[in-house]
């Protein structure tokens, strides 16, 4: 793990759908190796921001990871530059085994000759990831039969074997038990040793324990930025959240636009 750490640098990012501006000129910097939490009320544009960074939606402005511009590249190219993400709903391949899931994630650079052969044994990076995410004992189990938390870990594991340098996680602990949250948080800390991590999360308790820096989005703009303490002290943040209590443990249930 000697690879260099990169930071994410977003400048004046704008995304609009049919006249509705979901992200309205966001600029932010995530330092290499940071664990940055993105929070904000529903409709703040958090997921859209991640969508824009990963090429899922068209956007204007600039998104640089290290010294590479990401905007304008197709999804799979951005992915090959080391940018990986998870989704709010778990998106593992449920009809493949844990091992197959990880093996696919590890293989984007494989040649066709390799692809067209059968897998023999367990590739090193896959074995390593299995240990890190704690699913080594379930390698041959179908991913669809995993518990919810385990699926989220598998997703993170897939990003690890993919060897991404920037992880964008969309509500990774939603619906998890306390024990699972703790395990996930520790996993993030371990991962961030040689990667940059951005987390969208509503769970304030989880945020307080594991966030290194926080960006608050509101109505498509950056409202506040800083450490957990700084952000919590910001009166604008308190105003925005008034009437929107976000308690620890309450799973978000409404649509975020």
């Amino acid at each position: 793990m000697t690879e260099q750490l990169y930071g994410l640098s977003i400048r004046d990012l704008r995304v609009s759908f049919d006249g509705f501006t979901a992200v309205d000129g966001v600029s932010l910097d995530v330092a290499p190796g940071d664990i940055r939490f993105l929070i904000g009320p529903n409709g703040a544009g958090k997921t859209t921001l991640v969508d824009a960074v990963t090429g899922l939606v068209k956007a204007t402005g600039s998104v640089r990871f290290g010294d590479r511009e990401l905007l304008g590249r197709p999804v799979h190219r951005i992915s090959r530059l080391g940018v990986g993400r998870t989704f709010q709903t778990s998106t593992v391949f449920e009809e493949l085994t844990v091992l197959q899931n990880l093996d696919i994630a590890a293989g984007a650079r494989r040649s066709w000759a390799t692809l067209l052969r059968r897998r023999h044994g367990v590739p090193d990076e896959v074995a390593e990831a299995l240990e890190v995410i704690g699913l080594a004992g379930r390698a041959d189990q179908l991913a669809g039969t995993l518990a919810h938390g385990q699926k989220q870990w598998l997703e993170i594991g897939m990003l690890l074997v993919q060897d991404v340098r920037l992880l964008l996680l969309d509500e990774p602990v939603a619906g998890m038990s306390h024990e699972e949250r703790d395990a996930t948080g520790q996993l993030l800390e371990q991962v961030s040793q040689d990667r940059t991590v951005v987390v969208i999360e509503h769970d304030m308790d989880f945020l307080r324990r594991f966030a290194r820096t926080v960006t608050v989005l509101h109505a498509g703009r950056v409202l506040s930025e800083g450490t957990v303490a700084q952000v919590q002290a910001d009166p604008r943040v308190q105003e925005v959240y008034l009437g929107h209590p976000v308690d620890a443990g309450s799973a978000p249930t409404a649509t975020e636009a």
């Binding site: 997921t47 969508d51 990963t54 899922l56 999804v75 799979h76 992915s79 090959r80 990986g84 993400r85 989704f87 709010q88 709903t89 778990s90 998106t91 593992v92 391949f93 449920e94 009809e95 493949l96 085994t97 197959q100 899931n101 093996d103 696919i104 994630a105 293989g107 984007a108 650079r109 494989r110 066709w112 390799t114 692809l115 067209l116 052969r117 059968r118 897998r119 189990q141 179908l142 669809g144 039969t145 897939m158 993919q162 969309d170 619906g175 799973a251 978000p252 249930t253 409404a254 649509t255 975020e256 636009a257």
Partner: protein
Amino acid sequence: MTTVARDPATDVDPTPPVEKPAAGPSRHRFRAAAGFALGAALLFAVAPLVLSDFRLSLLAKYLCVAMVAVGIGLAWGRGGMLALGQGVFFGLGGYAMAMHLKLADAGPGNMPDFMMLYGQLDELPLWWRPFASPWFALPATVLLPMAVAFVLGSLVFRRRVRGAYFAILSQALAAAMVILLIGQQGTTGGTNGLTDIQGFFGYDLDDPVNQRMVYFIIAGILLALLALTRHLMQSRYGELLVAVRDGEERVRFLGYDPATVKLVAYVVAAGMAGLAGALFVPAVGIISPALIGIVPSIEFVIGVAVGGRATLLGPVLGAVAVAWARTALSERFPGTWTYLQGLLFVVVVAFLPGGLASLVGLARRRTDGGRRPGPLVRLRRSRVEAG
């Protein structure tokens, strides 16, 4: 984007689960080898002994349909691409073969009979000429469909035309192809198609012994295609294809281009359909637009659905069973076949989406005592698009 949690219990999975090795690889392989030997014995020894010449030639025809089914199983069952226009590729292969055989029947320098009757052409059209050579025509039966599939597939998959859109487009392609063929009666035989094929590389097709030879070639090639498909399904590519089926966007985020992954399966399926069409010609002696339109293209799919779309053998057995049922039932109850065919579609697809193969799986799991996590557990579909 939906963040409303869907209840996994009600969110029924659309596609039947992939077979999973039941035990260690060696046992699995042994089972496969045994199954393969059994199939070969049935096709090469039992069938020719038990069946009359006429029934054997019917079986040869069914096996051609089964070849198309193997390809559809790969593209649809594993890759999620509902290829409703396989008749196009079947037709391309069939016409390529029939054109060569017609030219061979006519003899060097002569034109096929129908061209003189209907086309009043003075000389062979330019695009027919290469087919006089078996060295061109034989590879063309496979490569031509693959090339067409490649062009169409690269256009539509790259633009992320999928699901229903893809199915309807491939159907429209079949319709367009039929109209084109019929419109060029002088050079394609129009609705008649290419008929009255006498010889197959010098062998008289009227001779029952040679018909039997054609049957053996078809059976052998079907077995070879099954072996190839089994290998593809079990390779890393096969796993990737399932992943694309269940979460195309997710695969994209892993750094693959799903279009390429799908393209390979689609092109391979097209090649198989082409080969099947080419072998259908000596077996039945005719290729015509009636075999490649929308209706036959959908009928190719029904066998696959009945047998079990995501399995290796399901499509083959399903295709043969449906084709056989059609012949048997329409002999005994002409006219009612349509009802049965319709019912078959409705019942199997609506109530038994895994096809008959899922019944086998169910029985097997029962004997296994439920030790391994059964793929029958209704999994919820990965909803990556919802991201």
